[in-house]
Amino acid sequence: MSRPRRAYLIAVLFLLVALLSGALAGAADLRPLDTISALLSRIPFLPVHSGLSPVNDAVLFQIRLPRVVLGALVGALLALAGAGYQGVFRNPLVDAGLLGSSAGAGLGATIAIVYLGGSGGAAVPTAAFAGALAGVAVAYAAGAASGAGTANLLLAGLAVGMFLTAVQTYLLQRSTQDLQQVYSWLLGSLSAASWHQALQILPYFCVSLLMILPHGRHLDVLSVGDQEARALGSQPARIRLLVVAGCSLAAATAVAVGGLIGFVGIIVPHAVRRLAGTSYRAVLPLSVLFGAGFLVLADTLARTALAPAELPIGVVTALIGSPVFVWILRATRAVRT
């Protein structure tokens, strides 16, 4: 079996296991076999009857499953945005939150919470989404104004991000009563998940995928540098703009419903590279599958480890992510030398 094909098989199995464990694990005590029969009973023409009581049936289909689905969507977006940014910037350490999107989302959410008071909760996703896109737009404009090239864009993103974070900190210092709410948002959570929310982000999810996934081959061409890419007939500036736009939409969508969830955009594409090689034609779609599975597993851990209390999902991804990341760095260095 070829290397990418084996990787796809592993990715699909991983995602299925993650989805199933997300559906089976939780605070409410649902028996696994009953849960599986409940899931199968929803498949048309399959003569299986749900083994769950109506209450537990509601727990499964109205609480757990929407959260699992939302986690999968958000994880896929974060991992894909990270992989896409890494291709555009030819830098494997770039995260989905780069280019001012995390800082912009943080500022947007903070403004909504601080200035809209109690009613701000409903506006937080919209404000975070708008803030993320505005942050990227400013960073991109600043980077483009200081000349072509990816280094300028990265530096501009860094500068814009620091500026927006400073503004956010200032706002928070002035209204410390909102600290708790902003802080818990910053750590990320999927606890407000609903089918409505999952449906809401579905169009953005689809558009992001359609914008990024066709560019795998083009990102491979960019890896030889702009000059050679152009000599090969490619148009790096146009590809960079399209992929950055797609990744920013993906990151903004993820941050709007999940808050700031770090590390997914770095560790998932890295793990994928070790499994399937560095070609973005494989890295992009595999990041979607592995990112979805990874975040579902992380969220399952976040809501079951200290049940009935919940860990912030950002804490879980960082707790798993940091050691894995260090291991990847060590392993990569070992290969190089």
């Binding site: 066709p214 491979d220 061409v221 000059q227 050679e228 152009r230 490619s234 190089r336």
Partner: protein, 275 residues
């Protein structure tokens, strides 16, 4: 067979020059680098661009490849290069820079396949025909056993063959090579230039190279242009261009120019630089 002209696509006939450059000027970061350079290459020919450091050799190649803006006219196989799209130009001209970028973890097969870029529609993936073109190029450059190797594991000579295979996969009739022998030892320099010469004859390619080694340039090239501070100081056959006075004046180097058994110039640097 009465005539073989029908086997040539329009503008690709043996009588149509592969490249005509007319009064080309170029500016880099505000300072003029090339002043009204004119030259040409017959189809199937080899033109060497020589001149001291900073004379504008690389800039000329990059302008011809459409990588930097220029004034003047460049005609490629009968078509005005300025009127061609980026992809159309890349289907006609393959360009290899002096220090190509080799993504360390990319395999040789993936790297060579990048040469198909100008032939693929925006959303298309490489198909069987593209893979076959890449395989043929790897076969020609004795890289067939290297397909799965990471670029980081290749030697300098193997990398040079990989980048040439990528250029061949592009299926462009005009090959622009910027210092194709840098970073190669004497034997590998000779192998690389012999290889380019063989490809030129067997595949009917036209070759333009910049070269620092004037003797090597004289061995392989049929025509030369000597650039001096952005202008053409001399052009013609190697024997005409490579004279002692001219090389001494332009390179500010003490040299003796003799001829080998086949009458080609041999440039030997002598001790004691020109004051």
């Amino acid at each position: 067979m009465t005539s073989n002209t029908e086997t040539w696509a329009p503008g690709h006939g043996p009588d149509v020059p592969a490249l005509i450059v007319d009064r080309l000027s170029a500016t880099l970061d505000g300072s003029p680098v090339l002043h009204s350079v004119s030259c040409g290459v017959a189809s199937g020919g080899w033109l060497a661009v020589i001149g001291p450091n900073g004379a504008g050799k690389s800039t000329l190649l990059r302008a011809l490849s459409g990588l930097i803006p220029y004034q003047g006219t460049v005609i490629v196989h009968g078509r005005d290069a300025a009127a061609l799209s980026r992809r159309e130009l890349s289907r006609r001209i393959a360009y290899v820079p002096q220090n190509p970028t080799f993504p360390p973890d990319m395999t040789v097969a993936e790297y060579v396949l990048l040469g198909r870029t100008p032939h693929l529609a925006y959303l298309a993936a490489p198909g069987h025909a593209d893979r076959r073109a890449a395989d043929e190029a790897m076969e020609l450059l004795v890289l067939a056993g290297f397909a799965g190797r990471r670029l980081a594991t290749l030697s300098g000579g193997e990398r040079q063959r990989a980048v040439l295979a990528r250029a061949l996969t592009q299926r462009a009739r005009l090959l622009l090579l910027d210092e194709p022998t840098t970073a190669l030892d004497l034997g590998h320099q000779q192998q690389a230039l012999d290889l380019v010469d063989r490809l030129r004859r067997d595949q009917g390619l036209t070759v333009v190279t910049t070269l620092h080694d004037l003797t090597a340039a004289g061995q392989y090239a049929e025509r030369m242009i000597l650039l001096d501070r952005g202008s053409v100081a001399a052009s013609g056959t190697p024997t005409v261009v490579l004279t002692e006075e001219r090389v001494t004046a332009v390179y500010r180097a003490r040299v003796s120019v003799t001829t080998d058994r086949e009458g080609r110039p041999v440039v030997t640097p002598l001790r004691g630089s020109v004051g």
